[in-house]
Symmetry: D2
Subunit: 189 residues, 4 copies
Amino acid sequence: MSSSTAPLAPELAVSEWFNTPAPLTLAALRGRPVFLHTFQVLCPGCVAEAIPQVQRIERIFANTDLQVIGIHTVFEHHSAMSPVTLRAFLHEYRLRSPVGVDLAEEGSEVPVTMQRFGLRGTPSSVLIGRDGSILHHAFGVEDDIAVGARIAMALSTRVPEIAPTAMPDQKGACVDGKCAVPSPSKDAA
Amino acid sequence: MSSSTAPLAPELAVSEWFNTPAPLTLAALRGRPVFLHTFQVLCPGCVAEAIPQVQRIERIFANTDLQVIGIHTVFEHHSAMSPVTLRAFLHEYRLRSPVGVDLAEEGSEVPVTMQRFGLRGTPSSVLIGRDGSILHHAFGVEDDIAVGARIAMALSTRVPEIAPTAMPDQKGACVDGKCAVPSPSKDAA
Amino acid sequence: MSSSTAPLAPELAVSEWFNTPAPLTLAALRGRPVFLHTFQVLCPGCVAEAIPQVQRIERIFANTDLQVIGIHTVFEHHSAMSPVTLRAFLHEYRLRSPVGVDLAEEGSEVPVTMQRFGLRGTPSSVLIGRDGSILHHAFGVEDDIAVGARIAMALSTRVPEIAPTAMPDQKGACVDGKCAVPSPSKDAA
Amino acid sequence: MSSSTAPLAPELAVSEWFNTPAPLTLAALRGRPVFLHTFQVLCPGCVAEAIPQVQRIERIFANTDLQVIGIHTVFEHHSAMSPVTLRAFLHEYRLRSPVGVDLAEEGSEVPVTMQRFGLRGTPSSVLIGRDGSILHHAFGVEDDIAVGARIAMALSTRVPEIAPTAMPDQKGACVDGKCAVPSPSKDAA
């Protein structure tokens, strides 16, 4: 689970946001844990189990710096689950946290964020640590106790003090024989 | 609850049917009990409670002559709950019994069938007896035991043998100073 | 389900009653439907599912002539589930309908009523018709809708008018080559 | 939540243990977090909600050093909830973690451990930190997510490195005008 070995979360690709005055990026959220959940408004398991769990997470961690984000990852019945339907859904189900519409890609049923995270379906969730690494991902809804425990662990992790060291080669980012993925945290720093 | 005093159910007004090869009318169903349920695909109580109850009713009374009918009575977020969305919903939620789209009326948010039955919202249900009378109606979801008991009572009621007496005046239908609503049961006799 | 073919319910054998001023017998209840449920206070399925269902039945059929009866059929952990424990259980769980302690039999783990009805374990239930016949029995908890429907059917059955015919041979009770179990209903008539 | 301000948990007073080869004391468990839950076998909320939650906690934190302990705090219907009944209950409900019978006190309905912790009834729970302090206590069952989060926080707390310092005055333990209860935590200080 340490930041040196856990994979970094890819960036979100969103065509339209709800419940937020401005678009969100994981890069800009570096330093805070993120609970990312993906759903479709006509997915029975999402509506019956995942969304209610997200609402409990919203409530219980309201006073922490956890950021909850939903992504509407439509990969079937596209015309039946347009942003107009999503907007009414969010209103009726009283979901408060930001929700983005996963960016559609020409010629693909599966939208971009879903592809980047390699998600298998809905509902899925990804817990992202303060350092931007993927701490846990799940397809389906997991037990509340385990979810609460994992989020608490993510919250309790200290933010590593990031020394503003000059990197010798921004583009290559290969040092001492090791090549790092260009980290979004530098953009956010 | 006797047929002489209970109000007759008005006829359905439907613009599009799903899960049935041909349109249904209550008139043609006279002689069979009908469990009519109304819903909207973005109504949380419908999805969480009413639709699962309808599925239990479908299963438990599968070998009886009960007719289950759903009516999609959209009275808000109209563009978010089009027939395209309804069709995908029925597919995802595995609803087997016939569902009709309540007929929209120019200048009214509330569709026609919903108006005729005087329904207050969704989910609602109406239990219709073999003689076409309204035996029970409810706004919200009622206890399974009570619902099962009422349907069983409706099923156990014998269809009164209707003697094919010539009515003096089919159109007027006023006899002995009393005027009856032209009853569809005569068509079914 | 007709009274001529369904087996007659055997009589209860009870060592102690709760929630009733006087002992009950099925013979004396002839003419009324009876919902008989058996349980043990340390049976998880009884406590979690069967007892709450019995309470829903008590409430929903409160205005009918259905008689609900519980039988505490202890067949294991006998010293752990004494009548003292049962009494406190009934108090804590607010069970209102009569409950009898199934009569223990010397040399048998299984008490007498449980043996007579051939019950396989707890929770079990037996629905007894107005004529004393067993309409349905179940090991485990069944769906509320089905339970409600069956009780409603039992309630809607007319009590057959019992002609006071003289029986040729009370003890033998064999007529026209057929031998009937001596019916308790004659005692109750 | 720091050990310097949170009250220390008092010691358990138990007359009989189940599910453990040897009696447990909180003193001997110092260094590990403890989830202490109290219940009665005839308490409906305990059986329906608290015990299942304890079983989820047992399962989800199985690979951590959390110690789950149950205390049977009978404060009513004493003869109905003897250790014999408790033993059968633990068998039927498959509770694996240690359970102690709260020590009865002559002339008091409320047993000793329950008094020491000032518990208001059942079900109650107390989360005890690695340093022996009470991190959280609750009367009734709390949300799984919050429970999971609190236990994770207790687990993530580092055990303070125990310096083998000689204490100047074990008996008095008064320093700078403040007198501490002779605490097992001094070993951990």
